[in-house]
């Protein structure tokens, strides 16, 4: 977190005292925000109702603006860019006070982190002044143009190409797994600017408006019916060189920090999310509700399942705190964020499986009213938490190689020009 977090925390003047901040936040939240409904706690489930989703996005922008006006937006962002210049401790207080209230969920990840944090770290003064205040006011929703259909875990293997043309760049290619690109404004885009050097040395980062003629946004249907993810096809998209972030061909320096911020997810001090999290997955309490509806909480084997789910939640939360604190104090490197990511991914899978077990035959067929109504579909989607935002396999690589310093995996693409790297099974094999 080094550079960015200290920039936020190390303001010269006296920081607002945590208790008075808490009082201010609490009183403002209670008089300005609605109590969260159960649906709002589990966003992203609009079952194809676009109007409802757009209304929710609009409400998020509105809340974000109110927070901004109240001095509660961008807690750890510098005041120069419209933030509050406060500490991660203040963010934590705000998160605690937000519990049970609506909050601008769609503004957080990826807009505030990793997108805005990457801008903060690598943007020019002009870029920061132009975009960060707009983001904090809810005027700009950002998406990561990072993953590619051909890429999988190999983010640095981006095939999207940017070719220089005077003071501008021409982008062509496809990006995927952007959440809600169809209602977002800007994309932070990793593109290849040089095919004749090894892959990490030929990338650059750009920003571009999503709603323009060269960008076609296609919504992807997931197996739970959700259409929150999108794929974008970029055809001759023109980006001025002033919208490049970081140095030419040095995009991997940006990308490394970008992915660090991505792994921090909701533990980042740059995002506001009610403490205890409302970020998807199946919660132990939902297992409890199923077991109760079936009248099975008296069965020790069912208590075991419910207890295991709860155990994993509790331990995961404590682990996140420990890892965050360890990175902050320097005990562990930034790369250790992968530890929390790995645990959350694997435990979410396990909890979905426990829920299916608790549900019994109600996991095979159900009514909408049943406590188990989303159990099987959650189970179908169980691996999402281990795939999205960097797979658990990549997390395991990072932990073993970057935290435990074990020898790096052999890659065949490190020392050769990117254009010569094998990208598919040879014909005939």
């Amino acid at each position: 977190m080094s550079a960015v977090s200290t920039e936020g925390a190390r303001v010269p003047e006296q920081l607002e005292d945590l208790e008075s901040f808490r009082k201010r936040a609490r009183s403002w939240i209670r008089s300005n925000l609605r109590r969260a409904t159960r649906d709002e706690m589990r966003w992203g489930r609009f079952d194809g109702n676009e109007e409802a989703e757009l209304a929710a996005v609009a409400r998020d922008r509105e809340i974000q603006r109110k927070l901004f006006d109240a001095g509660l937006a961008g807690i750890c962002f510098p005041r120069a860019y419209g933030g509050q210049g406060l500490s991660p401790g203040h963010q934590k207080v705000l998160n605690e006070e937000l519990v049970g209230y609506e909050y601008p969920a769609r503004m957080q990840v990826p807009t505030l982190s990793p997108c805005a944090t990457v801008l903060l770290e690598f943007g020019t003064e002009e870029q920061k002044l132009r975009h960060i205040p707009a983001i904090l006011k809810g005027e700009e929703l950002w998406m990561q143009f990072l993953s590619e259909p051909s890429g999988g875990s190999d983010v640095a293997g981006a095939l999207t190409t940017a070719i220089r043309d005077g003071e501008q760049w021409v982008l062509n290619g496809s990006k995927v797994w952007t959440t809600g690109a169809w209602w977002s404004d800007w994309g932070l885009c990793l593109a290849r600017t040089n095919w004749d050097v090894p892959k990490h040395r030929g990338l650059s980062v750009f920003m571009l408006p999503i709603h323009q003629s060269g960008v076609e946004v296609h919504r992807i249907e997931m197996i739970n019916g959700s259409r929150e993810f999108c794929q974008e096809f970029m055809t001759d998209v023109i980006v001025p060189d002033s919208d490049r972030v970081g140095e030419i061909d040095d995009g991997w320096t940006v990308g490394t920090r970008w992915m660090f911020h991505e792994r921090m997810m909701y533990s980042s001090p740059y995002v506001s999310v009610p403490d205890g999290g409302s970020h998807g997955g199946t919660a132990a309490t939902s297992l409890l509700n199923i077991a109760r509806e079936l009248g099975h909480m008296d069965d020790p084997s069912v208590r075991d399942l419910v207890g295991e789910a709860r155990m994993l939640e509790i331990v995961g939360d404590e682990l996140m705190k420990r890892v965050t604190e360890s990175i902050r104090s320097g005990r562990l490197s930034d790369q250790a964020a992968a530890i929390g990511r790995l645990f959350k991914g694997t435990s979410a899978s396990r909890i979905s499986t426990l829920a299916l077990e608790v549900a019994g035959s109600a996991g095979a067929a159900w009514t909408d009213e049943s406590a188990a109504s989303s159990t099987a579909v959650n189970f179908l989607m169980r691996q999402v938490g281990s795939i999205a935002g960097g797979t658990v396999e990549m997390a395991r690589n990072v932990i073993s190689e970057r935290v435990l310093a074990m020898p790096r995996e052999r890659t065949l693409d490190r020392d050769v020009p990117f254009r010569d790297v094998p990208r598919s099974r040879p014909t005939g094999s």
Partner: protein, 377 residues
């Protein structure tokens, strides 16, 4: 699936496979998601001609086995159903047809089921794992010449499509089974949602349903052994299908691992993934082994049929879920899109896992069986 098929068995398996490849490719399965029944009547009738509904029915009623072991023969069809996430009420129709045939009951219904022109389903008891046995949720009473059925069963496969419901009920201290035409007064069916694209389920309520005595299948009050057999056959067919779904997902994923490159080399070259493939292959082979062993034991009426049937259901449900989900994981994001075919197998697997007793319920049943056996020995 069985290691050694006779040429007749191989013929049936291969005919079924070819038929399914033609008739229900993945996009057809996706289309059927919006179909009320989840399958076309003509498809089912043609499948019946291939023998899908005949293996548990006696020759006297027009059925017959290929190998002498009807459930083993049927498991080959079920395996192909799993491998192609095929539509159609395979489990329910076969179990009911077999039960009727064993008691020479309702021969016209049997004929319809055999021909694929009729559909039937079983309103089965629930597995009460703690006692290691099943228990009906329906009560059957006798009121002079009439049989009265009361209660609710859920979920029931193909309840909305079936013309006849075989109902297992408590009858005083005994167990009685009756065949209830779906159109009988007092029968109501509430549709349920499910994870499979082509399977359909309902909750069936029997509100003082009255039938004549000849609706009874088998000896009144003495259907307990029949129900055991039906239960074990259900498990066996669900298992064979689940193994087919696992195999399909696994094969796709092996192929993918060779095709997909990351960091300049195929996924199949990464040791961490290779070791997971080794585990998966081991679990897939183990699932085949225990599924087949259970089929044989049930068909032979072997004393360890109950233990093997539950071991198969428990093992396949538990380890198979990890196999299929790891296939999703290895595919990455594309593996959870509706466009990709992988979820068709994941869906079939997931529903079968949840039906007729979960892995934990069957492990508990095995524990109970072991306890009983050891106590008796």
């Amino acid at each position: 699936m069985l290691l050694a098929l006779s040429s007749d068995q191989e013929f049936v398996r291969e005919t079924t496979e070819r038929f399914l490849v033609e008739q229900t490719p993945p996009n057809e399965v996706r289309r059927l998601q919006r179909d009320t029944a989840g399958f076309d009547a003509d498809y089912w009738r043609r499948g019946a001609e291939l023998g899908w509904t005949s293996f548990l029915v006696g020759e006297a009623h027009g059925g017959g086995t290929i190998s002498g072991a009807g459930l083993v023969d049927l498991s080959l069809v079920a395996y192909e159903f799993g491998r192609h996430a095929a539509p159609g009420p395979l489990v329910s129709t076969n179990v009911v047809a077999g039960a009727l045939s064993a008691h020479d009951a309702q021969t016209e219904v049997i004929a319809d089921l055999l021909a694929g022109t009729g559909i039937a389903t079983w309103c089965a008891p629930e597995l009460r794992s703690f006692h290691g046995s099943w228990a009906p949720t329906v009560e059957i009473r006798h009121d002079r010449a009439e049989v009265v059925v009361l209660g609710k069963v859920s979920p029931v496969e193909a309840a909305g499509q079936a013309g006849h419901l075989l109902v297992t009920g408590r009858d005083g201290d005994g167990i009685t089974q009756v065949l209830v035409p779906a159109s009988t007064a007092g029968v109501s069916i509430a549709p349920l949602r499910t994870a499979d694209l082509t399977r359909r389920f309902g909750a069936v309520t029997f509100d003082d349903v009255r039938l004549s005595q000849d609706a009874i299948v088998g000896a009144p009050g003495e259907a307990s052994t029949d129900v055991d057999l039906q239960f074990h056959r259900t498990l066996a067919i669900l298992n064979a299908e689940a193994v087919g779904a696992m195999q399909a997902a696994f094969d796709m994923t092996v192929e993918w691992a060779f095709d997909r490159y990351a960091f300049g080399r195929p996924l199949a070259s990464y040791q961490a993934l290779k070791h997971r493939f080794a585990d998966m292959l081991t679990w897939v082979e183990a699932s085949h082994a225990i599924s087949d062993a259970a089929c044989c034991a049930i068909d032979e009426g072997s004393p360890d049929a109950a233990e093997l049937a539950s071991a198969a259901k428990a093992f396949i449900g538990q380890y198979g879920a990890e196999v299929v989900q790891d296939c999703v994981q290895l595919h990455g994001g594309i593996g959870v899109t509706f466009e990709h075919n992988l979820h068709l197998f994941l869906r079939r697997f997931t529903v079968n896992r949840a039906l007729a007793g979960t892995p934990a319920e069957h492990r508990q049943r095995i524990g109970a069986i072991l306890d009983g056996w050891e106590a008796a020995a």
